[in-house]
Symmetry: C2
Subunit: 240 residues, 2 copies
């Protein structure tokens, strides 16, 4: 991060401070655009921002979600099998570990590059595998009464397209349209409240100066993140 402003994470009272970071990237992306893979990570206590964290390899492979036998192999139902495995403690080890991290966290920050108007497949795989029924939701406990209802989430991402392209009348449409499936469909469904997204538009195409400003702005925001109110996660916020 030569030439980049050094940032140490702001101090938070340890009591509130069990944020958790998820960091996703395709293949070797980490080694590559690590300049933009920056961001804050806290757990139990704040820790120093690292330049590079290990990629969650397990997510890359979408391995089986459970160990042992299926409940019903002739009429396989992914959701039900995962749910049952959760209840009997036989989910795959990596999922149990991921769920523990989520459980311990007050705030989930998802940092990722926007791929094809959504999260990269590897991150979607994390959602598909980790947010199992019984753990994250269990009908009728969804949306406001979702099982992760005392947590916050923040989607922080970089785009390829410019802010103009992602404006309301822009060719790619309002960026908020893209946030609905992620923020409402996943996080809100699990009861998680959502902070306003943090978006760095087209870092690849702006000046070095502008990129530094982006980093500084993020560092600034982190300092007062805990004072922020969640958005009102209803269609109005996304489509009005």
């Amino acid at each position: 991060m030569e030439g980049y402003p050094s940032m140490s994470l702001p101090s938070f009272p340890p009591a509130v401070l069990r944020g958790f970071e998820f960091r996703f990237s395709g293949e070797k992306l980490l080694s590559a655009s690590r300049r933009w893979q920056f961001f804050a990570a806290w757990k139990t206590h704040h820790r120093k921002m690292k330049n590079q964290a290990p990629a969650p390899q397990t997510v890359l492979y979408q391995p089986p979600i459970l160990k042992g036998f299926l409940r019903n192999s002739s009429e396989f139902n992914y959701g039900v099998e995962a749910w049952e495995a959760y209840k009997r403690g036989s989910l795959s080890k990596d999922l149990i570990e991921e769920q523990k991290k989520v459980q311990e966290a007050d705030l989930l920050i998802f940092q990722f590059p926007l791929y094809w108007f959504s999260m990269p497949a590897i991150m979607k795989g994390w959602m598909d595998r980790v947010l199992v029924q019984g753990f994250a939701h269990e009908f009728p406990n969804c949306y406001d009464s979702g099982l992760l209802k005392n947590k916050l989430a923040l989607f922080s991402f970089t785009t390829g397209g410019s802010e103009e392209m992602y404006a309301k009348g822009g060719i790619s449409g309002d960026i908020r349209y893209l946030l609905w499936p992620m923020q409402h469909g996943i996080m809100h469904f699990c009861g998680v409240k959502v902070l306003a997204p943090h978006i760095c538009f087209a870092p690849e195409y702006v000046s070095e100066e502008k990129r530094k400003e982006m980093l500084i702005a993020w560092a600034q925001r982190l300092k007062t993140l805990w004072k922020e109110e969640p958005i009102n996660c209803s269609p109005d916020w996304y489509f009005k």
Copy 2:
């Protein structure tokens, strides 16, 4: 498919008939809900619907997208590396094969279960890896002038939630909100025109009778699919 209406694919004039099927599922989902993984597959000539097709394993792993050396390994840029690899013919073998199938097809039918308000990770991985710059788009050739501009696509999927939940005022919001990133953000971006989606709501929770009706309706639709006009893929279709 015991007890289900037998369906043979309608005959199309061979000239127009180079549709291509993509079939996605998580892990063992195929063996499982194959009843709902039904759908039509054509290539060059129509072929009989198969009860079960091999899962595209390669997509499961998100393996490297190219063979040989990176153009710039110290400042890795996923998009640029894939683009360059495409141009010099050094994309991974599985991607080249997938691209060939796309190239030969007039119509792409994506059949999948809706996972977390979007496509399953494995299918997103296909999008992320296969629709490489140079092959599917190349600025300024995107949207209406995207490189796949003489093709059609159709998203056919099953949901967990009911039609009421996915109605405009419903708790999960209008189902069309979810189609924007997939239909507009991916297909339209590549120049592909989109036919109206085919949605089977909550097959898991409806009667056997209703499920049969769903299959029959799909079979019926397939008979006249080639006469359909694409939707007007603009914000109005999704958000009005």
